[in-house]
């Protein structure tokens, strides 16, 4: 086992990894930028190293600065968390070159699965279904139209070198195909300097369901069932759960088998996630490979709560060369878990990220509730990084119990000083379609007006009374300062 691990990340995931290290008796080494010198992950780690100024490019994204910190502290391994350098094959290779264990898959696997086309080709080779589509080598309009007709309508025509929805056209029937191709080509050429087009069958209102996999260095690869991640805004997940209300045991076995087959074909090691689009529900549902995430996912706790497996601990054990402690048959799903992501953002202003001081921040504590947080009262949400404040995970024997626990916890989770999506999440968990488990990736946008309607309205007289009372109560304190003395604030300078 490693003696020490450097955590090349910040926020809640750095805190999560530090906790896993502590359990295993491994020294945890935090890194931080100037914006984070008072952050929770820095206060909790056994050692902490400044790696640069606030901008991520000069700190958390600087592989060089992180490797330097690892050398200075004698770290034996690096946990990249998610985001930042977690999916950088170059960084994984530099770690290996520096004699450090990278807690993740090998560099070559990250590179291959990071390329959409290479990953898709590998999936096809492994017999994993992909969304039917083609990039005709003959790029004349008529040839593309013929390829689209072979796929069946509706289809999507999009630039083959692209992203962000630019030049993407949904074509409901053959009659509107040729004008759409011409327009997509113009937009593709203008935006990417390349008019090559790709046609794909449109999966209407799909679910996003992913399978957790993990492999060791001894040839064993297992899956840990699915997570349903259909509730998204701006293509970012905000509520995840396990199991998926749409997945039956037979479908689960098929999807799990496909994910393991792909991981095996890729030579996968450590934790990873195979994302699928799910069309329909039940035994007859069809699923299509979307992409593979070669790292720990934000939503990993719903898998942990329903399988009893500690995924971060598993990552560390596997990276140190240990075997997976369970076979596929020994793994079970039990009960239901729901995660909500608490973001510093304003749902009433197009989810605009918010930054500011956490004047008051109290995490709820109640049966069946776990909070993976990265902040503390008296700290702040910085303008420099992702606005994720914490993840609240609730579990119970049934989906409805998990849902009710999440609601009760959100109603006991005051975050003041920075606006968050907390009230919006409450409205979402109370929406009839969420209660019924009728989820698809378009739900949040389609129901947004309904979800926001509950948030409008003047403050009730009780809230005004509390505000006025607090005025008297707080008179003795600095009105701009935090409402309470925060223990981490007191720790300031303790490293000095």
């Amino acid at each position: 086992m490693f003696r020490s691990i450097l955590i090349a990340n910040r926020g809640e995931i750095a805190v999560r990894v530090i906790r896993a290290c502590r359990e295993l008796g491994i020294e945890s080494i935090a890194v931080y930028s100037d914006a984070d010198d008072r952050a929770l992950h820095v206060a909790l780690a056994d050692r902490a190293v400044r790696i640069g100024p606030a901008p991520a490019a000069q700190s958390y994204l600087s592989g060089e600065a992180i490797l330097q910190a690892a050398r200075e502290t004698g770290a034996e391994a690096i946990h990249p968390g998610y985001g930042f350098l977690a999916e950088s094959h170059a960084f994984a290779a530099s770690c290996a070159g520096a004699g450090l264990a990278f807690i993740g898959p090998p560099s070559g696997v990250i590179a291959r699965m990071g390329s959409k086309t290479a990953a898709r080709a590998l999936a096809e080779q492994a017999g994993v279904p992909v969304v039917p589509g083609a990039t005709p080598s003959d790029q004349r309009d008529e040839t593309i139209a013929a390829a689209a007709c072979r796929l069946g309508f509706p289809v999507v025509v999009k630039p083959s070198e692209g992203g962000g929805g630019i030049g993407m056209k949904t074509v409901p029937e053959e009659a509107s195909l040729l004008p759409a191709i011409a327009q997509a080509r113009r937009e593709a050429a203008a935006a990417f300097g390349d008019g090559t087009l790709y046609v794909e069958r449109l999966i209407d209102r799909p679910r996003h369901v992913e399978i957790q996999v993990v492999g060791d260095h001894h040839g064993r690869i297992v899956h840990l069932f699915e997570r349903e991640c259909s509730l998204q805004r701006r293509h970012q997940k905000i509520v995840e759960e396990a199991p998926s209300p749409a997945v039956t045991p037979a479908l689960r076995a098929r999807m799990g088998g496909a994910a393991v087959a792909l991981a095996r074909a890729a030579g996968y090691r450590n934790c990873g996630t195979v994302e699928f689009l799910l069309d329909g529900s039940g035994d007859e549902a069809r699923f299509y490979f979307l992409e593979m995430n070669t790292r720990l996912q934000v939503e990993h706790p719903v898998t942990e709560q329903t399988t009893g497996v500690d995924l971060v601990r598993t990552q560390i054990v596997v990276a140190a060369g240990g075997p997976l402690p369970w076979t596929q048959d020994e793994l079970r799903q039990r009960g239901h878990a729901i995660e909500v992501r608490v973001y510093a953002e304003d749902p009433e202003r197009h989810d605009l990220p918010q930054a500011g001081p956490l004047l008051l921040y109290r995490e709820p504590s109640m049966p069946g509730v776990r909070v993976d947080g990265g902040v503390a009262e008296g700290g702040d949400v910085s303008v420099h990084y992702d606005p994720l404040v914490a993840k609240l995970i609730a579990w119970g024997d049934t989906r409805d119990l998990a849902r009710r626990r999440a609601l009760a916890a959100l109603r006991s989770y005051p975050i003041l000083g920075v606006r968050t999506n907390g009230p919006f999440l409450i409205a979402l968990l109370e929406h009839p379609r969420f209660i019924a488990g009728q989820l698809d990736t378009g739900l949040v946008e389609a129901e947004r007006p309904v979800l926001l309607a509950g948030l409008a309205g003047a403050p009730p007289p009780e809230a005004v009374a509390v505000a006025r009372h607090a005025s008297v109560d707080a008179a003795a304190h600095d009105p701009n300062g935090p409402a309470v003395i925060d223990p981490w604030t007191l720790l300031r300078g303790w490293r000095g």
Binding site: E348, R349, H350, L352, P353, Q354, A355, L359, L360, R362, V383, H384, Y385, D386, P387, L410, R411, S412, Y413, P414, I415, L416, G417, R419, T420, G422, P423, I426, L455, A456, A458, P459, P460, P461, E462, A463, V464, A465, V466, A467, R468, H469, A470, S471, D473, A474, P479, N480, P482, A483, V484
Partner: protein, 138 residues
């Protein structure tokens, strides 16, 4: 009317007959944050109104603001990623004037009305604060 009893730092019990609820509050009197029943209000203690919805910071996006200065300023501390206009240029409502970047997101600043750009008050890469107009229209 409900009674309010402080029960801890920033924590209050709201008592209405036999009904009891827990509330939290923090912040200065002109913008005091209150948490009650899962909802958050930012209240001006004197007027008793929610400043986030009615006050100067309560601008809602979509060009509905009567206050042009706010429409032309950053909604939060942000870095200027791109400037799409120059002084003298004519713009139409909705035209992209400035692209700001904050927290991994691009935030567009769009023209709230038609007009001519009188001045651009920021530079690329500059960190700008909310409420200060980045472009002046005439």
């Amino acid at each position: 009317m409900a009674d309010v009893i402080p029960i801890g730092r920033g924590q209050y019990r709201v008592i209405d007959g036999t009904r009891q609820r827990t509330a939290y509050a923090a912040g200065p009197p002109e913008a005091r944050w209150v948490f009650l029943d899962g909802r958050v209000y930012v209240i001006d203690v004197r007027s008793g109104t929610d400043v986030a919805r009615t006050g100067p910071a309560g601008t809602r996006e979509g060009g509905r603001t009567p206050d042009e200065d706010l429409a032309l300023s950053a909604p939060m501390p942000a870095t200027v990623a791109a400037i799409n206009v120059a002084p003298g240029q004519l713009v139409e409502p909705g035209d992209l004037l400035i692209v700001l970047e904050a927290m991994k997101m691009e935030l567009p600043v769009r023209a709230p009305r038609a007009g001519r750009v009188k001045a651009v008050a920021c530079r690329p890469g500059e960190l700008v604060q909310p409420g200060i107009p980045l472009v002046e229209l005439e």
